[in-house]
Symmetry: C2
Subunit: 339 residues, 2 copies
């Protein structure tokens, strides 16, 4: 899921998303709550109509942004009081408010409000955090009214095996329509992340989607899919695109590099995206150096096409029972010298 | 002609240009000479291939940017020595260099190198400037080699009737494929501009295109077409779009205005552009306030559609011999209260 923070996947149109094979997008509840406000979006017919994206949308609960972006927050059993990062105004969001806001926004998948413990974090804090997250998950379910939206619970528990298991068991007992792994990709190393995913997945139902939040690099995704994860969101393809970093079948490239100044080839000769079938590295580099707005769209289209192709290939490999082989080839290709 | 300063009409793709009815675009020789350099563009197959725009392109001579953007320039009979506004490096462009650069870029219409006198400017200076422009026009013609490019001469002469006439007669005697009116829209009032255009047009051949450089507002265009001008270039539709100013059949609107915060209507209910058929004022305002890149493209598409529609209507009115009537209706519509 590409990230459409403020009801727009940065630099691209809904048609661009469809053309690159994007199936679901994510929008941030925190940002839309502050601007333009969920009542405005509800009155204008909901998020799909507002942004002219007919496909599925997932909204997060707002929790992660409240913890990571806002100053002067205070956390109680009821929820979180925080100040807007835009104008400093004071706000409160608890599990009930998070559901109400997300029902007003009208996404297809909405998320229960959770507490994402910092990293690193001692056992006692994480234990309290899991207790709060379970209680908030229950209150989120209770408040949910719309029947045309799926509600996912978020498994917390930091890097502690028993707390992850506890969190997963408690949420599964409530019967959510999908389960997210929260509190990962927060600074821990890849081995730790891998271990946590591996330990918690057995406690989640095999017939419900498992969503790893805020991940990640192509390598992270290949690893997590191998462990059983189904869904991801990350700003990586879009943000990297705007910084001039492009994903290719053989690794990353920086379009700023002077070696591309007269390179007439596309970003990736194996890519059939709009950008690769029409523009040279030389032109993209020129646009990037000249700060021409068009390059942000062209780069984003390419990176999204790369990510959706990766996911398609992973799905095909699972379906054809050759995921291990795919993973080996994936790493081999990246070890070969870059064009 | 929308302006594609650095081989990109800011914020839009070639397909967007085609879809909005754009027929010709302008690219700036000065900018492309400095970055990425005309030899690079020539080696990559020329401007059309470089930027993936198959339609006609006009390049200016570079003169105007040299006079308006660069510090420390010195002007002689040979040409102009100036410093790059990007890195301060020293360069020289004279009429021969301007033609050579434009032949390397490979546009369909190229412009003779001219001297654009400042405004206001005394008679003696403008007289010398016309003499130089005529001499440079001759040298531009002499240097031209490619037969697949049209060369236009640029009429100078400031606000002086006899100097405009002199400049026009001298250029027409050389036989260019089109004639531009330079040195207008440089600070003079609309009445003066109107007078100058009216005075000079009779000295230009009726069967060659007349191109008013750097103009202008919809009103400027309607006035100039009424006086016999055929072609225009201006950053107005694209630059205004990026500043949130949109052109409509009843006048201009600023999408930033709080009155549009919940306005579900398109920018202009009479417009059939991509933006107006898909997005509300409320969404565009939200994107603009949130500084979302997508809005620059959506606004630009609308403003370009407005301008190309204006030109289509003017052509139709000329063809059907009702230009005066069209002009009256044009002003009446704008006097009516805005939506």
């Amino acid at each position: 899921m590409p990230v459409g923070t403020q009801a727009s996947v940065k630099a691209v149109s809904p048609e661009d998303l469809t053309e690159t094979g994007v199936q679901v997008i994510l929008a941030n509840t925190y940002h839309l709550y502050l601007r333009p406000g969920h009542p405005v979006i509800r009155r204008l017919g909901g998020l799909h109509r507002f942004m002219n994206w007919p496909g599925p949308i997932l909204t997060d609960s707002g929790g992660f942004q409240v913890y990571s972006l806002t100053p002067l927050r205070s956390l109680t059993e009821s929820g979180v009081t925080f100040r807007s990062h835009i104008d400093g105004s004071q706000h409160f969001i608890g599990p009930e408010e998070a559901v109400e806001i997300q029902e007003a926004l009208g996404a297809d998948i909405i998320m229960a409000f959770d507490e994402c413990a910092p990293y690193p974090c001692d056992y006692d804090y994480v234990e309290r955090s899991v207790r709060l997250t379970t209680s908030w998950a229950e209150r989120s379910l209770d408040r949910k009214q719309r029947e045309d939206q799926c509600l996912f619970g978020i498994v917390q528990g930091g890097m502690y095996r028993d707390l992850r298991e506890k969190s997963a068991r408690e949420l599964v007992a409530m019967g959510f329509e999908g389960y997210a792994l929260g509190g990962l990709s927060v600074g821990e190393d890849a081995d730790t992340r891998r271990r946590v995913i591996q330990e918690v997945i057995p406690f989640l139902p095999a017939d419900k989607p498992v969503y790893l939040m805020g991940v990640g690099t192509p390598e992270d995704i290949v690893e997590a899919v191998t462990l059983g994860v189904d869904m991801f969101d990350c700003v990586m393809p879009t943000r990297n695109a705007r910084n001039g970093t492009l994903f290719t079948s053989t690794g990353k490239m920086s379009i700023k590099n002077a070696r591309y100044a007269e390179d007439d080839r596309p970003i990736d000769e194996t890519c059939d995206c709009y950008t690769c079938t029409r523009y040279s590295r030389a032109y993209l580099r020129h646009l990037f150096m000249a700060k021409e707005i068009l390059v942000y769209r062209l780069n984003t289209i390419h990176n999204l096409a790369y990510y959706t192709r990766l996911m398609t290939q992973l799905r095909d490999a699972i379906r054809e029972d050759r995921l291990t082989e795919y993973r080996t080839t994936f790493y081999k290709r990246r070890a070969s010298p870059q064009a």
